[in-house]
Subunit: 105 residues, 5 copies
């Protein structure tokens, strides 16, 4: 199962009838956004568990529900990993102070 | 479910009979293009929800339909993330002000 | 479904009997090579549609066929995206030709 | 199946009833964390085998259990690959043999 | 299906009974290692075809076998792509000769 953060509800008026009136949530999975069917009543900002694959169908209520990602639990406490800085500031070599020697006369 | 953008219809004359006459759409998923069966009548430029895995079959109309990616809804409003610049201009270290030493005479 | 290019047939003498005598094709999916069961009679160089997940089984002929990637259609016309050059030539700062016009006296 | 390391148990009070009281474990899969249903009684620090896809359901106890990742075995001995350093120490240009200039007297 | 190389057998004494006594092999898939159920009797060093998704279950012997990756064939001849060098040697800037000034006396 994935550990993702709920961003906001998704509105899609024109959709297949099989989706019924279940809530859809936009979730942040690493660097990409996905849509999940909400089976627990999550709120924006919650860290949640999402189940995918064929298990997402039954988790959404019935074997014929067309979901491939369903929110199945809200995590009590979650501390996300700090974001990786691809190029950290310390990696940038400080322009070495030119060692021009003082010139005396 | 994935959030993707519809690019254009896909024409494939030589295909298996199980595909019937359903519309196929080329969709942009991040940096790669995929093909989805269209169950809602999307148009090029629409941002849509695509369901994958085994749920894509029933979403396309029947449990035996051979789809692994089906467009199941058109998103009312969607603001995509701005593209990431892998190497931003600001990362280029400005040529440090040359610390020309004081010259004594 | 994936959009991939057929590279060449794959020969595997020692394989499970469930594969029967169906043709296997090596296909190029982005930067990686995969193997797909051919249900349409594709030729090397063809751009084809491949279905994965559980739908690949029925697309290969029967629900018990052990495929997770099946070629289900040949694309009539396909123009692949140009390959991305990670460091394009234009990124190399050309020594700007000083456009100082010749000065005549 | 994936080879992952168990990090710690996951607590989720508000979750769907189908999860019953089975243990959930946070596991490290490469650079990302996932949640797996524990079917063998693993402990933090154990290297384990996780099965995904539809097989994760039956591996968790029944065909209707909503898991897409289940711990199915503890590996007796596992030596993980050393982490790749994107810029290894050896890439740092060795300080060229100092061209100590001849000293005249 | 994936094209992977067999590394070595995997030993897991504590595992779910559903795995029975089938052989498990560690395989190399690109830059990551995975575990596959061996249905053909492969040896370390063999290049093999692995089937995933729900098809991996039946390929392993029965519909209820909990596999999501099963070795289904040994490739007769396979020439892997040459590895990409992400940072070529020529990219390492030669350490500039230290500009130790000549010392006169």
């Amino acid at each position: 199962m994935l550990i993702v953060k709920v961003i906001k509800p998704l509105v899609s008026t024109n959709r297949i009838p099989d989706f019924e009136h279940k809530h859809l949530q936009v979730v942040q999975d690493g660097s990409s956004k996905k849509v999940a069917v909400d089976a627990v009543g999550a709120k924006p900002g919650d860290w949640v568990i999402c189940v995918g694959s064929s298990a997402a169908r039954e988790a959404a209520g019935s074997k014929s529900y067309p979901s491939d990602l369903t929110i199945v639990g809200i995590i009590d406490h979650w501390e996300p990993d700090p974001p990786k800085s691809s190029s950290s500031a310390s990696a940038a070599p400080a322009a070495a102070a030119p060692s021009t020697p003082p010139v005396k006369s």
